[in-house]
C-alpha cells in the first residue's frame, strides 16, 4: 500500500508539469496581456508601458518565463501578482478559508441529504416519493448554478429574509463568537443551497442506482431468506457494497473543494478563491492564475488519491500491489 501511494505521488509530478505548461501556454498565447488595459489610458505614455513590461518580465521569451516560474515554485515562491503587487500566496491565503468553508459546508449538506433520500428512493422504488425526488433531481441537474443563484438573490431581495451576497455583515466585528457563527451561517444559506442542490441531485441518483443494483443481488436474497430484518439487510450487506462508487465520487468532491465554485462566487459575491481566479484570468494576472491552477491541480490529484486509498481500506477485494 505504501509503495502504491509513493508511486502515485511520483506520478503527480509529470502530471503537474503538463497541467502548468498547458495553462501557461493558453494564457500567454491568447491575445493581449496584463498591460492591455493600461495601453488604452490616455494619460500613460508608451515608455511607462514598456518599462512595466520589462519589470514584469513579460518581454522575455516564453520558455524562460516558464522555467523561472518553476524554479521559484520549487523554492516555495509563488511570485507576485501584477495587479496587486503583493505575493500570490498572500492573495490565495486571504481567500482560501472562505472557499474551503463554503465547499465543505455544501459538501456536508449535500451528502447528509442525498444519502438518506437516495436510500429511501431505492427502497421505495416507483412510489410517489421516488418519483418526486427523481423529478427534483432532474430539475437540479439541469439548472445552471448561476441561474439558480440569481433566482435566490432575487428572492432574497424581495423578502429581505436573506442578505444579498457577501460573507459577513457590517457589524460583524461587534458580534459575540456565537453571533459571528450565526452571521456567516446566515450568509451561507444561498450559496450552500445553490451548490448543494446540484450536488444532491446527482448524488441522490447515484445512491439510488447503486443501491437498486445491489438489492437485486443473490446474497441479498439469501440474507432476506435467512430471516434478517430488512433494516439489517440494508445496513450490513447492501449499503456496504453500494458505497464503493460513492467513495470515488467523494474523492472527486474533496479534490474540487478549492476550485469548483468560481462562477457561483462571482454571481453571489462570496469572497473566495473562485472570484480571485476569475478576476485574474480576465486581467491576465499571470502568476496568480498559475499559482491557483497549481493548487487546484494538486488538490484534485490528492483527493483522487485519498479516494483510492479509502476504497482499498473499505473493500477487501481491492488490492494495489
Amino acid at each position: 500500500m505504501l509503495r502504491y501511494v509513493v508511486r502515485r505521488l511520483l506520478q503527480m509530478i509529470p502530471l503537474l508539469l503538463g497541467v502548468t505548461i498547458l495553462s501557461f501556454l493558453v494564457i500567454q498565447l491568447s491575445p493581449g496581456d496584463f498591460l492591455s488595459e493600461i495601453r488604452l489610458n490616455p494619460v500613460v505614455s508608451q515608455q511607462t508601458v514598456d518599462q512595466m513590461r520589462a519589470d514584469f518580465g513579460l518581454d522575455q521569451p516564453l520558455y524562460i518565463q516558464y522555467l523561472k516560474w518553476v524554479r521559484n515554485i520549487v523554492r516555495g515562491d509563488f511570485g507576485y501578482s501584477f495587479a496587486f503587487q503583493v505575493p500570490v500566496l498572500f492573495l490565495i491565503r486571504s481567500r482560501l478559508f472562505n472557499t474551503l468553508l463554503l465547499n465543505l459546508v455544501a459538501l456536508t449538506f449535500a451528502w447528509m441529504i442525498a444519502l438518506p433520500v437516495g436510500i429511501t428512493a431505492a427502497t421505495r422504488q416507483y412510489t410517489a416519493i421516488d418519483n418526486a425526488t427523481s423529478l427534483t433531481a432532474y430539475i437540479g441537474i439541469s439548472t445552471p448554478t448561476f441561474f439558480s443563484a440569481l433566482l435566490f438573490l432575487y428572492f432574497a431581495f424581495k423578502t429581505r429574509l436573506l442578505p444579498i451576497g457577501g460573507m459577513t455583515s457590517l457589524d460583524y466585528d461587534d458580534f459575540t463568537w456565537l453571533g459571528k457563527v450565526l452571521d456567516v451561517a446566515h450568509h451561507l444559506v444561498i450559496p450552500v443551497v445553490v451548490v448543494g442542490f446540484l450536488s444532491i441531485a446527482g448524488l441522490m441518483r447515484q445512491v439510488r442506482g447503486n443501491l437498486l443494483e445491489v438489492l437485486r443481488q443473490d446474497y441479498v436474497k439469501t440474507a432476506r431468506s435467512k430471516g434478517l430484518a430488512e433494516r439489517v439487510v440494508l445496513r450490513k450487506h447492501a449499503l456496504r457494497n453500494a458505497i464503493n462508487p460513492l467513495i470515488t465520487i467523494f474523492g472527486f468532491e474533496l479534490g474540487g473543494l478549492l476550485g469548483g465554485s468560481a462562477i457561483l462566487e462571482n454571481v453571489i459575491g462570496w469572497p473566495g478563491l473562485g472570484q480571485l481566479i476569475l478576476r485574474s484570468v480576465l486581467a491576465k494576472d499571470l502568476y496568480v492564475v498559475m499559482g491557483s491552477l497549481l493548487i487546484a491541480a494538486v488538490t484534485l490529484v490528492l483527493g483522487n488519491l485519498a479516494a483510492d486509498v479509502l476504497l482499498a481500506l473499505t473493500d477487501p477485494r481491492i488490492r494495489y500491489d
Binding site: 488595459e37 444579498i164 459577513t168 459575491g269
Partner: protein
C-alpha cells in the same frame, strides 16, 4: 454739554451693537492645532456628527500606495485618506488650496511656489512637513516606480524640477511655461517617515510597499478618513480622522460622518439590488434605469437626480494609418468628405433614445457638454439625414451603382469591417444602429464585435483594422489627453506615433495643444480649446455619438447633497446624516 452726552451715548450704543458682530465676522475660524484650516464653503448646510455612510463598489483595491495606484478600485479607496497640495472643486472644476494654503506663479510662467498649510498632522499624530512633499515627488520620479503622475509631470521629455525653499515653501520649475500646472500637481502626499525605507530599496520594492497585505493602521494620511479594516472581497471600512484640517462654516472640524464603508460587490446588478434593499446609501444609476428609479423614490426613501453629462466620450474612428491598411480603403478613410458624409448617417437621436433611454445629449465634438469650463457652444452639427449623406458622398465621387452598392470613383465597392469590444452592450447597440444606416447608403458593412484584448492589440500594436467604435475617459482639462490629440501620441487613434504631422490640421492641433499647455490664464486657454474643437468638428477624425447623462440616486437621510460635475453628489467630508445614527 448735551450734544457731547448725546454723541457719547450714540457712540456707546453703536459700539455695543456692532462690536460683537464685528468681532464675530472679523475673527477667522481656527482650530487649536491649525491656525488656518480650510473652510468648506460649498456645503449648503451645517451638519450633525455621526452616522455610517455605505456605498457599493466594484473590484478589490489593488494597492494602498497612492503613488502606484492606477485604477479606480484603488483610487476610490485612497482618495478619502490622502490629500494633495491642491484639490478640484467638484461643483465648478476650479483648483482650490488643499494642503498648500496658497501659491504664486512667476511672471514667465515657469516657476510655481506653494506655501504649506501650518499645523496639519498625519493621522498618526506626526506633523506634515515640507520634507514629506519633497519625498512624494522624489518617489514619483524614482526609476522603476510605476506612477501615473510621472507622465503628466514630464514635459517634452523633461521632468519637472523642485526645490525646498524653506520649511513651508516648495518651488517647482519647468523648462517652458505650463499653464495647466495646477491640474497636474494634485498627487496625494505620502509620509516620508513611513515609506523612506521602501523607496531607498529602489523602484521595484517601492511598487510593492503599502500593498493590500499592509495592516490598515499603517496607512497614514492627512485626509478626512483613515482605514480601519479591509476584508478581501467584502469591504473596506474607514473611520473619521480626528485631526483633519477642514472645518465647516461654523468652525466645527470636519468630517461629520463617523464611519464610511465601501462594500465590494462583484457586479453591477448587485450594486443596484443592494441600494434598492437599503444596504447602501448612494447608487449611480444607468441612463436606462432613470424612469424605474423615479417611480420607486417614495417607497425607497431616496431621490434620483437629473445629473449632468459625464466627461467620457464614445465615437467611431476610421483607420488612416498606412502601416495598417492600404488603398482603396485608406483613400476613402483619409478623405474628409467621406468622413463628413458618414457623420450625417449617424442617427444620434436614435442612439440617445435606444441606448440611453433619452438621457444623453448628441455630441458634435471632443469635449463633453458637461465640461462647463471648456466645451465650445454652437459647434457645427451634422443632424441625421441619409439623403444628405448620400448626396455628399456622390459629390465626393462615391456613387450607388446598379447593384445597389456604393462604389468609389475607381469602381471599388465601399466595404469595411466595423468592430467594437464585445460585452459592452451599449457599444454593441450603437454598432447595430450604424450598420443598418450604412447599409442603406449602399456600404457593405461587416459588423464583428471582438474581445477587448484583441481590439487593443489592433489599435496599439498591429494597426490592422478598418473602423472601430470605442470610448475614452476624459478629465476636465483637455490637454491631459495629449496622447490622443498630439500627432506623435500613442493613442492618436486614427494614425498614432507620427514622426511629423501628415496634415495641416494635425499640425495646427499640435500647436494648439502646446499653446494651451503653456497658457496660465484659463480664459485664454479656453480660446485655444475652442479652436481645437472647431477643427475636430470640421475634420472629423473621430465621429462622436452622444454624451450620456448621470443620474445619481441618494438616500433622503443624507444631507449636504448638491449635484456637481459628472454627477458627483457632494464631498465625503461634508456629507452628514439628517436622522438617527446607524
Amino acid at each position: 454739554m448735551r450734544s457731547w452726552a448725546a454723541l457719547l451715548t450714540v457712540g456707546a450704543l453703536l459700539v455695543a451693537v456692532f462690536a460683537p458682530g464685528a468681532v464675530g465676522q472679523g475673527t477667522p475660524l481656527k482650530l487649536p492645532d491649525i491656525p488656518n484650516p480650510k473652510v468648506a464653503a460649498n456645503a449648503p448646510e451645517i451638519g450633525k456628527s455621526g452616522g455610517t455612510y455605505v456605498v457599493g463598489s466594484f473590484g478589490d483595491p489593488r494597492t494602498f500606495n497612492p503613488i502606484v495606484a492606477q485604477e479606480t478600485s484603488s483610487t476610490d479607496v485612497l482618495n478619502p485618506i490622502f490629500d494633495g497640495l491642491v484639490e478640484q472643486n467638484y461643483l465648478t472644476g476650479e483648483i482650490e488650496p488643499a494642503l498648500a494654503e496658497s501659491w504664486e506663479v512667476s511672471k514667465d510662467g515657469k516657476s510655481w511656489t506653494f506655501t504649506l498649510r501650518q499645523g496639519v498632522s498625519w493621522s498618526d499624530g506626526s506633523p506634515l512637513t515640507i520634507d514629506d512633499v519633497v519625498f512624494t515627488f522624489q518617489a514619483i520620479f524614482t526609476e522603476g516606480v510605476q506612477s501615473s503622475s510621472k507622465d503628466s509631470l514630464t514635459f517634452e521629455g523633461k521632468p519637472v524640477r523642485w526645490k525646498k525653499l524653506d520649511d513651508r515653501r516648495i518651488q517647482f520649475t519647468t523648462e517652458k511655461p505650463v499653464g495647466t500646472f495646477l491640474r497636474l500637481i494634485g498627487a496625494g502626499i505620502i509620509p516620508k517617515s513611513k515609506l523612506a525605507d521602501a523607496l531607498a530599496k529602489g523602484g521595484a520594492e517601492f511598487n510593492k510597499s503599502w500593498g493590500v497585505n499592509t495592516a490598515p493602521k499603517d496607512i497614514v494620511g492627512t485626509g478626512p478618513f483613515v482605514m480601519q479594516s479591509y476584508l478581501p472581497g467584502q469591504r473596506v471600512v474607514f473611520l473619521k480622522n480626528t485631526r483633519y484640517w477642514k472645518v465647516d462654516k461654523k468652525g466645527t472640524r470636519l468630517p461629520y460622518l463617523l464611519r464610511y464603508v465601501r462594500l465590494i460587490t462583484p457586479n453591477q446588478e448587485q450594486v443596484r439590488l443592494k441600494f434598492l434593499a437599503g444596504e447602501t446609501d448612494v447608487y449611480s444609476a444607468r441612463p436606462r434605469e432613470f424612469a424605474e428609479f423615479k417611480q420607486g423614490e417614495k417607497a425607497g426613501n431616496y431621490t434620483i437626480y437629473d445629473g449632468p453629462e459625464t466627461f467620457s466620450s464614445e465615437f467611431l474612428v476610421f483607420n488612416q494609418n498606412p502601416a495598417g491598411i492600404s488603398a482603396p480603403k485608406l483613400t476613402w478613410f483619409q478623405d474628409v468628405r467621406f468622413r463628413r458624409a458618414i457623420s450625417y448617417a449617424i442617427d444620434r437621436n436614435t442612439i440617445a433614445q435606444q441606448v440611453y433611454a433619452g438621457r444623453a445629449t448628441p455630441a458634435w465634438g471632443p469635449v463633453s457638454i458637461g465640461n462647463k469650463l471648456y466645451a465650445k457652444p454652437n459647434l457645427p452639427t451634422s443632424p441625421y439625414d441619409l439623403n444628405r449623406a448620400q448626396s455628399m458622398l456622390a459629390e465626393a465621387g462615391y456613387r450607388k451603382g446598379a447593384d445597389g452598392f456604393l462604389h468609389d470613383a475607381a469602381g471599388n465597392i465601399i466595404e469595411f469591417t466595423l468592430s467594437t469590444n464585445s460585452g459592452n452592450l451599449d457599444r454593441e447597440s450603437i454598432g447595430n444602429i450604424l450598420r443598418q444606416d450604412f447599409t442603406k447608403l449602399g456600404i457593405k458593412v461587416t459588423y464583428a464585435p471582438e474581445e477587448f484584448n484583441t481590439m487593443v492589440g489592433k489599435l496599439t500594436g498591429t494597426f490592422k483594422w478598418d473602423a472601430i467604435i470605442i470610448g475614452l475617459t476624459g478629465g476636465i482639462e483637455p490637454v491631459t489627453g495629449r496622447n490622443v490629440w498630439l500627432s506623435s501620441g500613442s493613442l492618436h487613434m486614427w494614425y498614432p506615433k507620427q514622426d511629423k504631422p501628415v496634415t495641416d490640421w494635425e499640425t495646427e492641433i499640435d500647436k494648439l495643444f502646446d499653446q494651451a499647455t503653456a497658457e496660465v490664464d484659463s480664459k485664454k486657454r479656453a480660446q485655444f480649446y475652442f479652436r481645437w474643437q472647431d477643427i475636430v468638428a470640421q475634420q472629423v477624425p473621430l465621429l462622436y455619438f452622444s454624451y450620456p447623462k448621470t443620474q445619481p440616486a441618494v438616500r433622503n437621510t443624507l444631507g449636504n447633497i448638491k449635484i456637481g460635475l459628472q454627477g458627483a453628489i457632494g464631498t465625503i467630508d461634508t456629507l452628514y446624516y439628517k436622522t438617527a445614527y446607524k
